[in-house]
């Protein structure tokens, strides 16, 4: 057994009728859109073989719309499938997409970077109670122990400016932040201790690149880290290459990362990558008063140039 989460008596955060209602709403909207020919496909979630699991699906017929679900296992940020990196997974034409609030931030980012056009999308927003953590026992209900860290600090449970909202937000208890505390703990360390922490984390990295492949913003046709003539980043699973890869990843996503934390969820080695993303986001906020938001902006602070930019760091 891989599940490391303890079986717990912790009470469910929401009752089953909530999921039934959201699921029903998604199915009805998807069936309507497909029947009317308003979209070529609906990108949503369907149940997996194992009880309590779910996986992304591209549904193209009204009949299959009845397979769509929403459950705490619906963790994937589906906006990934709108990027050019995954274009062979979806049909051409207007697409409907099921999004949670955190995913919507990624959509806004992709709109801002001209990767997608709003008029080609029909956004089905979820009134979201939260999803499972990476290693949660999906046989359990969503509770204080099984909920993802990002959901404990969520500020976008009810996505705005969508074309359709599925479900109504249930009353949710306040949860204490976990990730913010972990980041604060790291910040309080000396640089040497922090270095030791990350060195240890990256030593487990096997360069499976799940973090890159699942990221909606890693859509480069030629990733710098795949180059070999000349090699920019050592490809081998070794300390130097692992460190370079994770620094390049964090820097390239600074000011772009939408905080969906999919990279951390899918890491088979449990490397807490979202701590890096979050630290970069804090720096961006502090230095440029910029944060990933729900409204598309063309350029982030690290991709734009102004004549009066501070250049004092150039020595």
């Amino acid at each position: 057994m891989n599940q490391t989460a303890q079986k717990t008596e912790s009470a469910p955060l929401v009752d089953e009728t909530y999921y039934a209602a959201v699921t029903e709403a998604i199915r009805a909207e998807a069936a309507r859109l497909l029947k009317e020919g308003a979209v070529a496909a609906v990108i949503g979630y369907v149940p997996g073989r194992r009880p309590g699991t779910a996986l992304p699906a591209v549904v193209t017929t009204p009949e299959r719309a009845a397979e769509l679900i929403f459950s705490p296992a619906c963790r994937n940020n589906l906006s990934l499938y709108l990027t050019k990196a995954k274009q062979d997974a979806v049909p051409k034409g207007k697409l409907a997409i099921v999004v949670k609030g955190c995913d919507l931030r990624a959509l806004a980012g992709l709109l801002g970077e001209s990767q997608i056009k709003r008029e080609n999308l029909h956004i089905i927003g979820i009134a979201c109670a939260g999803v499972f953590a990476a290693n949660a026992d999906q046989g359990l209900p969503l509770n204080e122990t099984t909920i993802a860290k990002k959901c404990r600090e969520c500020t976008v449970r009810l996505p705005a400016e969508v074309d359709f909202t599925a479900g109504a937000l249930p009353k949710l208890p306040r949860l204490t932040p976990v990730e913010a505390e972990e980041l604060a703990r790291l910040e309080a360390l000396t640089p040497a201790e922090r270095w030791a922490f990350w060195k240890e984390q990256f030593s487990r990295c096997i360069r499976c690149l799940a973090c890159r492949q699942v990221c909606p913003f890693c859509f480069c046709a030629q990733c710098l880290c795949d180059r070999n003539r000349p090699q920019a980043v050592e490809n081998s699973v070794r300390p130097a290459g692992n460190l370079s890869w994770h620094i390049v990843r964090a820097m390239h996503l600074a000011g772009r990362c939408a905080g969906c934390a999919e990279c951390e969820r899918v890491c088979p080695m449990d490397i807490p990558l979202n701590l890096l993303n979050r630290k970069m986001a804090e720096e961006l906020k502090e230095r440029f008063d910029y944060e990933a938001s729900l409204s598309p902006r063309e350029k982030g602070p690290l991709t734009s140039y102004q004549e009066d930019d501070d250049e004092s760091f150039i020595k």
Binding site: G48, A57, D88, G139, R207, C208, R212, Q231, S236, P268
Partner: protein, 360 residues
């Protein structure tokens, strides 16, 4: 379900086993405390002992400093293949001095004698399956030298989760394939110990004082994976005729092309070779590679014969359940379930096989 059925072997005998088996050795018992003492004794004698160990939130195969570090309650996140086929290793180094370039091979005789302990059947069976590919036309000394120097202590599996499917691919929670010494958990914490090869017998005899003769307690119930029964012959027959099929897109168009499944797999063995360093000094390294990667079959001409992600996933299935079988008469999967647990987009190998089995 018939636990212990050997359907994969029924499809054709595996290639020659590297070690002589002698099943006449008496079974013995070792207490949990003495198992730790065994590890301590081995470590004390300068032998490298590698086994499941807790590292932060997960469990990994790692060198054990002492017996207490052995963690048998959780399947290690990565398989035991890395004990023979590390994620990265140097296969030669070079250095230019003036007009001459010197090339040096690593000294494989320095690889340490190792006891690899605590492998469930799904991990223990894999290295033996891989012997075929690493000793086929080319003798891969990096893999084979480690195989020669390693003794595998397998353990019967008493806990399965809903991703486990060893029974569906012809293995079983008490399958001895690949183990030199095999432990069977007993009630109360001890283990029955069976030596299966000369290596296993030698290990047992060298530390005979830690074992007792008779089994002191009943055996713990074995794990019962809830996997559906599969007809691997039928699956292979379907694969033989369905290289082109809409099925591949249906199940894998959403595959994101990472290497999590291949890297965690005990049987996936593809690697890439790269020269790293500078022209003046550097080395050639062999690193894990994965057929899910978009660049895996990318040609220098920019042509890619596996141009869509679904075609790359198809290769994963074909290699495990058809090509390896065509070439070596074996299935390249032990049903450990790691790919299922780790897939970022929920692709479930057992479900894919079930689909082919039922509808193919």
């Amino acid at each position: 379900m018939t636990v212990g059925a050997r359907r994969c072997l029924a499809l054709g005998d595996p290639p020659g086993r590297p070690y002589r088996r002698d099943n006449n050795l008496m079974p013995r018992t070792i207490t949990a405390q003495n198992l730790q003492a065994l590890i301590d004794a081995l470590v004390g004698a300068g032998i490298r002992v590698v086994g499941p160990k807790r590292v932060d939130t997960l469990c990994l195969y790692a060198p054990l400093a002492n017996g207490e570090e052995l963690e048998l309650n959780e399947q290690p996140r990565r398989s035991a293949k890395e004990a023979f086929f590390p994620p990265c290793e140097e296969i030669l180094s070079f250095e230019r001095q003036g007009a001459n370039t010197s090339v040096r091979d690593p000294d494989l005789s320095r690889l340490p004698a190792t006891v690899l302990i605590g492998l469930r059947p799904c991990d223990a069976a894999a290295p033996e399956i891989l012997d075929a590919v690493f000793s086929w036309d080319y003798q891969d000394d990096f893999f084979l030298e480690r195989r020669r120097k390693t003794t595998i202590v397998g353990i019967a599996c008493t806990r399965a989760d809903d991703a486990c499917f060893c029974t569906a691919v012809g293995l079983a929670p008490d399958c001895r394939d690949g183990s030199d010494l095999f432990l069977i958990p007993l009630e109360g914490g001890g283990y029955a110990a069976e030596a299966l090869t000369d290596k296993g017998a030698a290990l047992l005899e060298r530390h005979a004082e830690l074992f007792t003769q008779a089994e002191s307690a009943p055996r713990l119930p074995l794990a019962e994976p809830r996997a559906a029964e599969l007809d691997l012959t039928k699956i292979k027959a379907w694969l033989d005729g369905h290289f082109e099929s809409p099925f591949w897109r249906e199940i894998a168009a959403h595959c994101i092309g990472c290497g999590a499944c291949a890297f965690l797999c005990p049987a996936c063995h593809c690697f890439d070779i790269v020269d790293e360093g500078s022209e003046a000094k550097g080395c050639r390294r062999k690193s894990w590679d994965a057929c899910g990667f978009g660049k895996f079959t990318l040609h220098a001409s920019a042509h890619n014969p596996r141009d869509a992600q679904a075609n790359r996933y198809r290769n994963r299935i074909m290699h495990k359940f058809k090509y390896y079988h065509d070439k070596f008469g074996r299935t390249l999967c032990t049903g450990c379930g790691r790919c299922i647990r780790a897939c970022p987009v929920g692709i479930d190998l057992a479900a894919v096989l079930e689909d082919i089995n039922n509808n193919g």
